[in-house]
């Protein structure tokens, strides 16, 4: 079953605004990854943050990780209509976990950016 819970389930903003999506998970992780999925397409890897990192940036993306709260957030700054997609967090688990070796995905946040 899925590990992560994402919040909000859906988000609608105007172009130029920032979008923030949150992800929570249950058991200790090795790293956490964010993916984007355009309608009818496969998932595209956006960014990976390791358990010993607290923040990471890639272009207009900023990811934070709080392992004490078992949560992560993805911030997209200055959003564009082309950012419209579903965003998923995925957790990679420590050896010894029943989830070792595979990514466990959350339910996703659907982002709509209006021009």
């Amino acid at each position: 079953s899925q590990q992560g819970e994402e919040d909000p389930q859906a988000l609608s903003i105007q172009e130029g605004e920032n979008a923030t999506m949150n992800c929570s998970y249950k058991t200790s992780i090795n790293n956490l990854q964010w993916y984007r999925q355009n309608s009818g397409r496969g998932l595209v890897h956006l960014i990976l943050i390791r358990s010993n990192e607290r923040e990471k940036h890639s272009g207009r993306l900023r990811v934070t990780l709080d392992t004490s709260k078992k949560s992560s957030s993805l911030l997209i700054t200055a959003s564009r209509a082309a950012d419209t997609a579903s965003y998923f967090c995925a957790t990679d688990h420590l050896p010894g976990s029943s989830n070792t070796g595979k990514l466990i995905f959350g339910q996703g946040t659907t982002l709509q950016v209006k021009p």
Binding site: N30, L43, L48
Partner: protein, 114 residues
């Protein structure tokens, strides 16, 4: 190839029919993963291979589902006696080594069982 290739892109099967879904991973990627994605949901893990070895098949929903990767490259997911609840998008992903390196996904096969 440059990316992960899946075929067919779309498949309509009559209930009870057997289907085979193919995945061509990125050349040199050791790990290959299959996921099932229902409409509006996140991908659910089915099984994964490291080279030709199937290391985890805990996500396969029933014994009607079978996956293989005999030479450590191309993989096939077979579903026998398809049922309506099997309707979903089946995603294949490959990774250079393991899940800690991030996945490259194919575009998926949309299976509709009628």
């Amino acid at each position: 190839g440059a990316g992960v290739s899946q075929s067919p892109r779309y498949k309509v099967a009559k209930r009870g029919q057997d289907v085979a879904l193919r995945c061509d991973p990125i050349s040199g990627h050791v790990s290959l993963f299959w996921y099932q994605q229902a409409l509006g949901q996140g991908p659910e893990f089915l099984t994964y291979f490291q080279n030709e070895a199937q290391l985890d098949k805990s996500g396969l929903p029933s014994d009607r589902f079978f996956a293989e990767r005999p030479e450590g490259s191309v993989s096939t997911l077979k579903i026998q006696r398809t049922q309506q609840e099997d309707s979903a998008v089946y995603l294949c992903a490959s990774s250079f080594r393991d899940s800690s390196y991030g996945y490259t996904f194919g575009s998926g096969t949309r299976l509709t069982v009628v």
